[in-house]
């Protein structure tokens, strides 16, 4: 499809949009030092530790997918200071609100106590350096993934902050998020009215495929959407997380969306065959997904033909299920424009603002 064939209004988000995935990160571990105690400051210094330039292989700095040309020119890989997000995203796009996601703790080393200290530091840094400086900002808090009790404690410490709207979890895990060992974390999030955000990438060295590490970045990159997030939501639904926690809402971030219908058709069919195994699952998996899941718009993996784009969106009621995300600074291609061009005016309003407003209870 030639983009020149559609008017610019149809491929822009207009004013007052809600951006559900804007990335920020500390420029270095020194930024987090004020939020760490003496032991952990020495742990970092004595161990010669530093932040991984590629975030554990997730975003190689020079890879074309890691930053748009504009973000790269501005040195935002991603933004490290609130002024940068203000000018490049909030003001530039005339946003009503943006949700910050910091994945610095995702590729943490294997020390569970350090992970707890690091996630606390990231959260305190988010509150002090970002949320307190612009009331258009909301943020996901991060929690330790290796210690459910520590994760619960962190949610209890910070989960009631009015600008914290989500608990951010990686899709690469030792055990899938539906597993009973994680239930206290999900319960704490639900009890605090927080959405759980499942975001691409995660633990360093956690092979993305069932057969191990991949030689290519392309395969690693697409595993987030084509394999890992699908295993996570299959787990959450099958293992009864939503039956147990009827208020639990889960947003899928930077994991695509066009794969959803094929997964749910398979899931519904299999459930009809083996429902005896999961008696707590009393309705179709697709109905549970529709109630409890929303997906963000970047990356938008869609066909080139606008007729097929529209068909692909109709297979899962995209106007209801999707929430706009720039995923700044990442560059996943032109699918996002094809998506916006295919939405009706009513759907576009819901996708760029209304759905997120309702899902996160942002109010009018």
């Amino acid at each position: 499809m030639s983009l020149s064939s559609v008017s610019s209004e149809e491929t822009t988000i207009g004013t007052g949009a809600v951006d559900t995935d804007v990335h920020c990160a500390p420029a270095s571990l020194a930024e987090l030092a004020p939020f760490l105690d003496q032991y952990w400051r020495e742990y970092l210094v004595d161990g010669g530790q530093s932040l991984s330039p590629s975030q554990g292989g997730a975003y190689p700095p020079l890879a074309p997918t890691s930053a748009t040309p504009a973000a790269r020119a501005a040195g935002l890989l991603p933004a490290t200071e609130v002024e940068q997000v203000r000018s490049a995203v909030l003001d530039a796009e005339s946003l009503r609100l943006a949700v910050l996601n910091c994945t610095t703790s995702f590729h943490c080393n294997r020390n569970p106590y350090y992970e707890a200290a690091l996630t606390r530091a990231v959260n305190d840094w988010l509150v002090e350096k970002w949320l307190s400086r612009d009331d258009r900002l909301r943020a996901s808090m991060v929690v330790p993934t290796l210690d459910p009790a520590a994760a619960v404690a962190e949610i209890e410490r910070l989960g009631s902050h009015p600008q914290i709207v989500q608990v951010l979890l990686p899709v690469r895990t030792d055990a899938p998020w539906g597993n009973t060992r994680h239930r206290p974390l999900l319960r704490a999030a639900a009890e605090h009215g927080l959405v759980v955000g499942l975001h691409a990438w995660g633990r360093i060295g956690q092979a993305p495929t069932p057969s191990g590490l991949t030689h290519t970045y392309l395969e690693d990159y697409l595993a987030n959407s084509q394999i890992l997030v699908q295993a996570q939501i299959t787990s959450l639904i099958t293992q009864g997380a939503f039956a147990d926690l009827p208020e639990l809402r889960v947003t899928l971030l930077e994991c695509g969306f066009s794969w959803l219908p094929a997964l749910l058709w398979r899931f519904d069919k299999d459930w009809k065959g083996v429902w005896r195994e999961v008696p707590w699952l009393t309705g179709k998996p697709s109905e549970v997904a529709r109630r409890h899941l929303r997906l963000t718009t970047a990356p938008a993996h869609l066909p080139q033909d606008p007729v097929q784009v529209r068909q692909a969106l109709d297979l899962f009621d995209a106007g209801t299920m999707l929430m706009y995300a720039s995923d700044h600074p990442h560059d996943h291609g032109t699918g996002g424009q094809r998506l916006l061009a295919a939405l009706t005016d009513g759907e576009r309003e819901r996708v760029v603002a209304g759905n997120a407003g309702a899902w996160y209870s942002f109010g009018a």
Binding site: A63, S211, G212, A231, T234, L315
Partner: protein, 374 residues
Amino acid sequence: MTSTLPSGTSSPGAAAARAGYTIVDTDIHPSAPAADIRARLSGAHRERWELFGGRVPNPPEFYPRVRNAGFRLDSWPEAGGIPGSDLGTTQAQLLDEFGVDHGVLIPLQGHTFGAEEPRYSAALCGALNDWLAEEWLAPEPRLRSSIAIPTESPDLAADEIARRAGDPRFVQVLLPTGGETGFGSRRYWPIYRAAVEAGLPVAAHTGGIEQHRGAGWPSFYLEEHVWNGNMMAALVTNLLCEGVFEDFPSLQVICVEGGIVWAAPLMWALDEAWPRLRADVPHLRKPPSEYLREHLWFTTQPIEEPDDPRHLTTALEHVGMTDRIMFASDYPHWDFDSPRLAPRLFPSGAREQIMGANACRLYGLPARASEGTR
């Protein structure tokens, strides 16, 4: 479409109700009794078989099937043994009952045998292939078979492929979807080289070594079964990204029992990412979807089933590979698809292709002679 015939329906007159087109069933599971494998092993391997059996766990040990051990209730042979161990039962319940013209055997024991100690693995796969040739292919001309191979010992696998290549009853090389590492890895390339030299396609059937990295281990069979589609997508992506299709331009790969319509969003994702990541995969010279459309085939069972059947038609159009989709019943498993009822789900314009014509083209099988059936 998980229809199951009432027990004991194998009416002699079933052939009268044959469809007016060729039916090829591309996924039939035979299962060799342990004693029949033992009888075909030589001294040291036979002793090992008796004392230690196999070391590779079967997926049902992790994720037990919910009822009847995962088999069709009526498929247990009257003479004893497990479903798929008796040719006569398979003939009566499948080939005769539905007027199947040709059937392709997929011996899932190859999935575990293939990952044993290399020499033992080769002996086990050789014994299994001998059993298939002697007990199934010789007495039943409607059947063809896959070649079970020592998957994790690719040099020995290539030997086994070459050994069977002269027997036209063996029509494909069997791979599982779960291996010690990704099947695109160069260590497996001797398998693809041997398959291409023999002019045989490779059939990747769901199963094999059970591993759940990435997101971690599921807890339930429901999750594992849904996951089969993701496993197949991972396999296909790995073959592509490692350059297998570039180095083996004539290789054909059949995705068996992993669903179909996930392939469209996978191709959209690959084609969206590839222009930005070309430097990461310099060995790929054209959009990824072009490789997949030239190299992949799919079997139908268990095809995705949306509430609105028109959605399946749309999704299959998005895949755009109706000329490479082949009917499969998965006999004798619980989620068997009837050759009589399944066609109703397929787009009417592609029904005869899917039920038989595509498979005849791929495997070089004769179409049903015009016999005035309709």
